[in-house]
Amino acid sequence: DTAVSQTPKYLVTQMGNDKSIKCEQNLGHDTMYWYKQDSKKFLKIMFSYNNKELIINETVPNRFSPKSPDKAHLNLHINSLELGDSAVYFCASSQTSLSYEQYFGPGTRLTVT
């Protein structure tokens, strides 16, 4: 059973397109996150939702819009894709009342051409 899953694993698209990445966790956690890992492997948080409420929103272009339909899902929609959006996007979840440990998904490698 996969704890944190993401789809798709790979996404190749052209500039200007709109795409979505989906994330699901079956751990019963109350908080979910999106991270971006660039080509130099630097990881930076983008968004976080706690009980479906946005609690972290870093300086991310508003072309990126997270949506949390329920506590187990956090999707990332990206409008008007740009070359600089090419990266690996990781979803993570945690149960903040317990240990602050975050569990990561396998990542989605987005390539914008």
Binding site: L43, S94, G107
Partner: protein, 113 residues
Amino acid sequence: AQSVTQLDSQVPVFEEAPVELRCNYSSSVSVYLFWYVQYPNQGLQLLLKYLSGSTLVKGINGFEAEFNKSQTSFHLRKPSVHISDTAEYFCAVTPANDYKLSFGAGTTVTVRA
């Protein structure tokens, strides 16, 4: 704000030799500290964490780390590495009772036979 500095970007090591990965942090508040490992083309996996208590923390796969508050360090060690330890290692920090993880730039460990 918190920041994390991983002092070594690449660490080559021979199999069965010890390894130490250095991590320093800066913060004006109490923090929780983590080490994550990322195997090639995979997501991040928690190796160990320090929240409070004993400053020597033991994690999975034979890794341990020592929290040193006066030196604001959280160095990771393993007495004898295996080929399978070849991976990227990330040190991360979050303010105590907060959700937001800040990652270091990562250390690439390459284990050679």
